[in-house]
Structures are given as structure tokens and as C-alpha cells.
């Protein structure tokens, strides 16, 4: 497919408070570009299709290899990473870029994904190893568990799962699949499991695991192909059993 220009249509927003507007650009085509390099090219000469000089489009990026999640945005309507969105593989023109709409916009395509890190704090999304004396070597991670747990650990907190989830919105307190998946990961860890019930408690309140409606868009949207719906179902079992225990041991 030969093209002279890459036609971009970008949803822009100057500040967190001002309203959004659309701006279109034509960037000279080069082979092997991705959305990040197109935006970098645009930054060199920020002129829109009407020939008017404008502010360069603001976006975030970091790793450029789909492992950090920073450049997540909606590309032609679907949430994904700008770095792995290869121009030569996108047929549609113009290419429409929008910020993720489940997170507050800071400017243009840059959003504030802080809420996901707050959720990780809420669910104890780490392994507690700090003590005031030498604890010695920890137990080994059984290989058969490590294999599936590694899959879960690939989460890069990009937000695509929350973006596509119909139960994750300002209307509902649901914390979404991202944090729930991390509960399963750290509960599988031989040291992490020492805080198992604390993590289960954290997802058994309002907005917890019961608020999942099984639309299963998350597993489809996840660029790291994490089996999010399996994580949720597995923790449904754990929370159900733990819920009964919590009740009967009262």
C-alpha cells in the first residue's frame, strides 16, 4: 500500500478543564512507522491540514516495545499501545487518535492512570519481604505455578481492560480486572500467599470482584493476552470459600 501522507485525526484537549476538539494532520509517509514515530514527526512541524501552525500533540511514551503501557490510547476507536500500532498495518484513513476515555485527560492524548496504582495499593499488589532482621531464603516458586503466574505478571497497567469494561465507569465503583488479576498473581506467590486473606478481603467489598458482569471484553482488549476472565473466575472460587470461612469462623 503506497501512500504519500499519513492522515491523522486527533482528539485534542488543551487542559484538564477545557473541552475537547478535533484537529487533522497530514504527515509525510515513510515506511515502517508506528503511531509514536508519526507523532514525533508531527512534533517537528506541527501544522494542521488547514496549514495553520499549532501546538504539537502531547502524548506519553516510554519503552517503545509494548511493555510499559504509557502510550496507551484509542487508535481507530480501540484501546491499544501507540508503539505497537504499525502504520503499514493500519488500512483505515484517517487514523483516529483519542485519549483513553475512562481516565482523566491531562492534555491531548495524555491521561492520568494513577487510579490503577491506587487499586494496586488497595489490594497489596506486592510481596512483603521487609523485616527488622534477616529472614533467610524464602520458599521456592513451584515451576508449574510459575508458568501461569508469569502470564499474569505481564500486566503493564496500561488500562485497556478498564477502557473496554462496561462495568468500569464513573457510574460504578468496580475496580476492574487489572487489580483483581494482581490479587491472583500475588496470592500464588509462596511468600505473597502469607497475605492471601488480606488481598481477598480487599476485593470483597463494594466495587470488588462481585461487580464483574462477565462481559469479558477485558481478556479481548488485553495486549499482553492475560487470561483476565480466568483470574476473575478463579478468585470467585477463592472469595466464595473464604467468604464462607469468614462467616462460619466468626
Amino acid at each position: 500500500m503506497s501512500r504519500e501522507f499519513i492522515h491523522l485525526k486527533v482528539k485534542r484537549q488543551d487542559t484538564a478543564e477545557t473541552s475537547a476538539y478535533w484537529e487533522e494532520f497530514k504527515i509525510p509517509y515513510k515506511p515502517n512507522m508506528n503511531v509514536v514515530s508519526v507523532l514525533m514527526e508531527l512534533r517537528k512541524n506541527p501544522v494542521n491540514v488547514e496549514g495553520r501552525k499549532t501546538n504539537p500533540v502531547v502524548w506519553e511514551c516510554n519503552c517503545l516495545e509494548e511493555v510499559c503501557g504509557a502510550c496507551s490510547m484509542r487508535i481507530n476507536g480501540m484501546p491499544r499501545q501507540a508503539c505497537s500500532a504499525l502504520i503499514d498495518k493500519i488500512e483505515k484513513s484517517p487514523i483516529v487518535l483519542e485519549p483513553l476515555h475512562k481516565f482523566p485527560v491531562i492534555r491531548d492524548l495524555k491521561v492520568d492512570r494513577q487510579v490503577m496504582f491506587d487499586y494496586l495499593r488497595k489490594i497489596t499488589g506486592w510481596v512483603n519481604i521487609d523485616g527488622s532482621w534477616e529472614l533467610g531464603r524464602g520458599p521456592r516458586f513451584p515451576e508449574k505455578d510459575r508458568q501461569w503466574a508469569y502470564q499474569l505478571s505481564r500486566c503493564m497497567t496500561c488500562g485497556c481492560c478498564l477502557e473496554s469494561c462496561p462495568n468500569y465507569s464513573e457510574r460504578s465503583p468496580f475496580i476492574g480486572p487489572q487489580a483483581i488479576n494482581q490479587v491472583r498473581l500475588f496470592n500464588a506467590h509462596p511468600i505473597g500467599q502469607m497475605d492471601r486473606e488480606k488481598r481477598l478481603d480487599a476485593i470483597m467489598g463494594v466495587g470488588g470482584i462481585t461487580d464483574c458482569g462477565n462481559a469479558q471484553n477485558c481478556a479481548r482488549a488485553c495486549p499482553k493476552e492475560i487470561p483476565l476472565t480466568v483470574s476473575i473466575a478463579d478468585l470467585n472460587k477463592d472469595t466464595t470459600l473464604y467468604g464462607m470461612k469468614r462467616w462460619l469462623y466468626k
Binding site: 476507536g77 480501540m78 473496554s164 462496561p166 462495568n167 465507569s169 457510574r171 460504578s172 468496580f174 470483597m204 467489598g205 463494594v206 470488588g208 462481585t210 461487580d211 464483574c212 458482569g213 462477565n214 462481559a215 469479558q216 471484553n217 479481548r220 482488549a221 487470561p227 476472565t229 480466568v230 476473575i232 473466575a233 478463579d234 478468585l235 470467585n236 472460587k237 477463592d238 472469595t239 466464595t240 470459600l241 467468604g243
Partner: protein, 205 residues
């Protein structure tokens, strides 16, 4: 924290459970009993008489049918409200099922409230007798018949798809393949229940 917030997990689990036990079981019994209409008026009437003659029938109706349905329905309205459906952007099969689950919830609620009024409450208050002939009369209006067909299909879809979600929400079907197979099984259940229900309905024509 309010009582609702404090018991959120329990309430959600109860909502899921009630959809299957007792409400889902009642739906199965109800469709099966109605299917006796295909064997003629005498057979149908005898089954109705039997059910009406059950001991503690009022308690069964109130505590095992009406109250669980009301709880499931009205808490369910909140569940319907908090979803922001996005089937046009993410038009995957399961996302459509999620959307239809909520649409059929609303249709079924309207249908059940009318159905309950027309054939149970009015019979309790006004003494209307419920027999094969009452049903023939009730369904003689084509608009009413269509309303019953839509109500029936909504209820069977909502039950079958809800049963799929039930097995996931209780952590019984966990793996991807298990959930897929369960999807097929509950899909077939939807078809079977719908056919059984429609045969019962058409017997009154």
C-alpha cells in the same frame, strides 16, 4: 459504612444465587407444568388444581417465589443501571450476551409483573378462576400473545445466560475452555426451554 455496603459481597452472592435457586428452578417447574397444555384442557387443569392444593401453598408462593423474585429484580435494576454498554465498539459475542442479559432483565420484569397481576393477584383478589379456558381467553388477543412470546423468550434467555454467569460467579467454571463449553450447554438449554415454553403457549391458541 451502611448495612448495604458492609454486606455487599453477601448481597451480590445472594442476588446471583436467587436467580438460579429458587427463581430459576421455579421457571423450570412453571414451563414444565404449562407444557401439559399440549395434552389438552383436562390434563392442564388437573395440574393447576394439584399445585393449588399443595399444603403451605401461600408460604411457598411468598417465600420461595415472590420475595426472591422481588429481591433479584430490584437489586438487579441497580446492576442494570451501573453498566455502560459498549456493544457497538466491542461487538464480541460475550459482550452482546452481557447487554442482552440486561435488556431481557427489564423485559422479563415488566412481563412478570403483568403476568403476576393478571393471573395470580387478580385471582386472589377478584376470585378469577385460572383454568385452560381462562388462558385461551387471556391469549386470544394477538397483541397479548406476542407479548407472552417476547416475555417467555426473555425469561428463558435471562435464565440460561444467567446460569452461565452463575457457574463463573461461584468459581465453578474457571478455565477458558470450561467457560466456552458451558456457553454451548446453556445455549442449548435456552433453545430447549424456549421450545417447551412456546409449545405450551401455542396449545392455548
Amino acid at each position: 459504612m451502611s448495612v448495604l455496603e458492609k454486606n455487599h459481597f453477601f448481597i451480590r452472592k445472594l442476588h446471583s444465587l436467587f436467580g438460579v435457586i429458587p427463581v430459576g428452578l421455579f421457571l423450570l417447574e412453571h414451563l414444565y407444568t404449562n407444557s401439559f397444555a399440549t395434552q389438552g384442557a383436562a390434563s392442564y387443569n388437573s395440574k393447576i388444581e394439584f399445585l393449588q392444593s399443595l399444603s403451605y401453598v401461600l408460604y411457598i408462593e411468598v417465600f420461595l417465589i415472590i420475595l426472591p423474585i422481588l429481591f433479584h429484580a430490584f437489586y438487579g435494576l441497580y446492576v442494570v443501571y451501573i453498566a455502560k454498554n459498549n456493544v457497538l465498539r466491542y461487538s464480541y459475542y460475550r459482550n452482546w450476551a452481557f447487554y442482552l442479559q440486561r435488556i431481557t432483565a427489564l423485559i422479563t420484569l415488566v412481563f412478570v409483573l403483568y403476568h403476576l397481576w393478571a393471573l395470580r393477584i387478580s385471582s386472589a383478589l377478584l376470585g378469577t378462576e385460572v383454568t385452560f379456558n381462562t388462558m385461551v381467553q387471556h391469549l386470544s388477543n394477538p397483541g397479548m400473545f406476542a407479548f407472552y412470546v417476547i416475555g417467555l423468550l426473555s425469561a428463558t434467555f435471562h435464565f440460561a445466560n444467567g446460569l452461565w454467569a452463575f457457574f463463573i460467579n461461584w468459581g465453578i467454571a474457571v478455565g477458558v475452555k470450561a467457560q466456552q463449553v458451558l456457553g454451548w450447554v446453556t445455549g442449548i438449554l435456552f433453545v430447549i426451554l424456549s421450545i417447551m415454553g412456546l409449545q405450551g403457549l401455542f396449545a392455548f391458541l
